[in-house]
Structure formats: structure tokens, C-alpha cells
Subunit: 324 residues, 2 copies
Amino acid sequence: MVTLKQLSKELGVSISTVSKALSDSFEISERTKKKVLALARKYNYRPNNVAVNLRAKSTKTIGVIIPNIFNHFYTKILSGIEQEAKRNNYKVIVSISNETVSSEKEGISFFSNGSVDGILLAPSEETEKLGNYKHISALHQKEIPFVLFDRYSEKLNSDKVIINDFDSAKKTVKYLINKGREEIVVVSLIKHLSVGELRKKGAFDASKKITLLEFEKEEELEEAFLKLIKRKRIDAVLALDELSGIITLNIARTVAFRIPEELTIISFSQGVLSEYSYPKLSTINQHAKEIGENSVQLLLTRLKNKEASYKTRIIKTALEIHQT
Amino acid sequence: MVTLKQLSKELGVSISTVSKALSDSFEISERTKKKVLALARKYNYRPNNVAVNLRAKSTKTIGVIIPNIFNHFYTKILSGIEQEAKRNNYKVIVSISNETVSSEKEGISFFSNGSVDGILLAPSEETEKLGNYKHISALHQKEIPFVLFDRYSEKLNSDKVIINDFDSAKKTVKYLINKGREEIVVVSLIKHLSVGELRKKGAFDASKKITLLEFEKEEELEEAFLKLIKRKRIDAVLALDELSGIITLNIARTVAFRIPEELTIISFSQGVLSEYSYPKLSTINQHAKEIGENSVQLLLTRLKNKEASYKTRIIKTALEIHQT
DNA sequence: ATGAAAGCGCTAACAG
DNA sequence: CTGTTAGCGCTTTCAT
């Protein structure tokens, strides 16, 4: 990489003259500017980012800690983050926690050395399970601004971007009841997540008369659901996560349920899974991309004003019913 | 963030003493080391990464340009990259090209200012379509090492990590023939990708008697495949990409094909889609994670020795047949 | 209109 | 064993 020093030497002017010329300073004569610009272009000069960062004491980089990159929901959030960051001339560094506390800590420490201006973070499942958020709140001491997205805790004081899980589940159950569905089953594989808890509460807030199937492992859910539908007539399923939705769908089909005529399945999701399932699953779309975009916006706002009070943005969900 | 300067001031020693003490230099007395370490811990001192980078003229960061983050295949590669990078104490910056030349160029220029030590890149679909790789080979002039993964071109001289697409397709068709399948259909939605071309050639190299359905849009493929199976008996499908596989599967089921008894479907894939399809699709697993890991390894090797000749690593595929 | 010098935070060669 | 100094590449203040 060519540097200001090299350019200045070749042009026989000082480094500062070259620097000023390149930033089109009024202090520099047109003639010199032309000369400098020409040579800079010839060598494809680009200011060394690291040096600029050191000088500016800012990196124009956002660190993202994401629990799981195989989950299409987070992938969409990441895409929203990346786009919004780029739009604001920020770079994005990614660290994947794989739902473990240890990787999450690693990621945080990875970012806590001036590599990033701020952090976007969705706590790992393990973190939520243990309820220990000290490694995250430690960012406050380090004065590294951060924004939580999707998952959060009352224990954590910070900006956050979330969806209205409680309301979404409640509204969906109400919708099912309105449609005349009477035997509603709620299935879930995300027992340990804060969002799972909220959705469950929302569903039960709409109706006490709900059967709950909540498990940690896919096979357990499969077994339980199969047993249930053999024993009892049901006509609606609300899946609190996409995987539960797909599993329920596939099992219902093996026992020849007509879907959605005999059995309505609605699933929280943002996935390819539901899109390419057969038949297409009805979903509660979580607008993942907007979650990502809003997280970036909140963080950039925070970077501009570190003293402002913490803000929460709630991204609305949309119920998408597929009749086919 | 606390700096060496601040520590040195509080301790009443010089900056370099603090620096040396923290790196456990033999030049420093045990007593001083203890004192320094204690204060450093108290303030949670971490060397400023940007300053270290400037000094070291290396960023310990890898830039990744990925065509599409919604494709599970690339997501897995990214995960492999991230893990292998972390294992070697490198950070990962991500830029998503969305299969467009313009975003790809943006990404490259984004990285070409000293932000990264090297680049990992899978060219966008548009780039492959246009056959113009100048913006990529320009990295050679800029002396930024890069490694291509998954997609590549003869026009590009570089390290690369690829799968043996030609052989995999060929072997799969042979497998089908061995199993007594006679009417084989090859379906594809990745006409414009170099890998699509290779897979197609491989399939035809195993048998000339193949029906080819190749389209750009999902609907076109759906229509054509439906028409075909109504007109003619077929007993095997090789899908060159996962989407084609799923679409074929869903259509075959609407017309009540028994799968895999009557119709074998095998698909190139690395997806959740095939895993949670019903019935489970048989797949040609591309070991995406290994592609990611190998890309990082090749790049790090290159960083150590910029003069070595270019290497190509071929990641083997595995045929995974599901009987259910 | 141009240049010299300082300083961002760090490391390391050199001096004492 | 500790300190001084230089320099990574850049921007900016302050001379000239």
C-alpha cells in the first residue's frame, strides 16, 4: 500500500500538503491539488484505515455477537445489520456464540480492545438459562456501547430492539378462536429462551384452555405430538418456533390430517423452512431484517450521544396465513 | 479505555517499562512486573488493538465476501471460516455481495484500505455471468492476498478451495444407473454458476440419456417438471441445487409418487431444507464447513509466504442416501 | 500556499 | 533493570 509519505516524496512536497490536497482543503492551490490527485490515482492511493482509526479514536466498525448462524431468523437480522451498517459507512465484525456463554464471553473480549465502536448482541441460550448477565453488563464499565436485539433481560440496562412476543402470541390465539378453532395446542422447542417464555404467556393470556407441548429435543416433541393427536381431536397448533412448526406439520401429514382444512398450523418463524414446506406453513413473520436495521440505528444514535436515556424499539409482527 | 501512558503515570515508571512488564519481558524485575500487572488488572487494561495493528502492520483480520447469506451452504462455510479464524486469533469481517457485481466491488474496496490482511471470496452470480474478473484480479496489484472458495474461474490465478462438482455429479448418476434407474432427469436453477455447469457436464459424462430441465425461475421449473412427469415415466432425479430438489420433491408428491420407492431424488445441498423436508431428501453433502476451514488455512499459509505457488484444495463430497 | 511538529497507543532498538 | 527515542500512517494546529 502506498502512503502519504511516498507520495509526498515523489512530488517533492510535504506530507501535510498531500494530506490536505487529498481532502480538498482550501489551503492548497489548485495546481498542487491536481498534481497530487493525479499521482494518488495513479497509485490507487487509499488512506490506511488503521492509521485513520488510531488518529480518529474510532474504528467505524460494529461488532455483532449472534447466537446461531444456521437459524434463518438471525441470518436475516445479520443481513439487515450489514446493509444498514454499510449505508452508514460502518464495517461489521461477526462473532458467533453458538448459544454458549463461553463463546459469548470470548466474543465480547475479542471486541473489547478498541476493535469496535460498539456491539450488537443477542444473548446466548445458555446465558438466558443461567440468568447471569455480568459479562454483558461489564461492557458498561468498559464504556463500550451496546444494543441488545431479539433477546433481553430485565437485569440488563441498555438500548434494545425486540418484537412484541407476548402480544403476537396472544393475538394469534385470539385469531384461531375467532376462526372457530377450539382445541389449540402450543408446541415449543425454545423453553429456555426469554422469547419462548413471553410467547407462552401471551398464548395462555388469550385462553386457558390450551394444551402445551414443550420439550428440549426434537424427538420428544415428535413423540408427544404423535401420541396427542391419536388420543384427542385437535384443530389448531401454534408453534412458538419454526422447527416445532415444521415437525408438527410433518407428523400431522403422516396421519393424513388435511391442512389447513382440518388442522391450522401457525408458526413463529422467519425461515426458508416454512416457505418451502409443503403445504406452506402459516407464519408469524418477525421482520428480522428490520430488527437488524433498527439495532444499527440505535447503536449509531448511542455513539453520537452516550448520555441519552436507553431506548427500546418494538418491531411489530405480521400474521401471514397461507391457504394452500 | 485505559492506556499504557495512564498506567505508567500512576505507577511512576516509563511507558516502555509497563509495556515490557505486561509482555513478561526478562528485562523487568519481578517486583515491578507484579506492581504493573496488579494495576493493569485493576483497570482491566487491554492493549489498544488499532495501535497494535498500526505498529505491527497487520490487522489479524480476514475479510469475507459472500454471495448470499440466506443460502445455508454459505452460512455453513461462514461458520467454518469464523471458527478456524478464531482458532488462529483472527477476526472476520463480512461483506455480502447479494450476487451482484456492484456490491462485490464495494466489498473489495471496503477491504482494500488496510482493514484486512487478506480476503476470502466467492464471486457473485453476476460476476460469473459476465465473466469479468478484473476487479478481483486487481487485488494482486494491491498486494492483498485472497483465496477463492466454492466458485472460481480459469481467468483468476489464485489459491482456491473447491468441491469436485464434475466428479460428484458423474458418480451420482452412475450410482443411480447401478441401482437400476433408467429415466433420469437433471433439474437445475443455477444455470449461470460455474458449479452448475460443471455438475451438468459431470452428469452427462456418465450418461447421454438424461433429460435436462434447467431454468432461471422456480415457477418455470415447477411447470416444466409437472408437465414432464405427466407425459413420461421417470424414476430418478438429480437436482444440481437444493431448491430444485425441494421443488421437485413437493411436485412429485402432489401427483402421489412414492418416494423413494418409485422415484429417487438426490440433490446437491447442504441445507436445512433437505433435512426437514418430508420425506428427507437424499443429498450430495458438500462439507461446507470444511470449505470454510480450508479457505482460512490457505489464506494464513499465503500470508506467511507470499511467494509460494498457488494451491487448490478439493473438498470431497459425500452421497447421503435416506431411505425414509 | 506550504511545511514542521505533535500526537493517537503501541513496541522495540538502543542507551544508560 | 529502567528509560529515551523513533516510528507505524494519518490529521491538524501552528508557524512561516
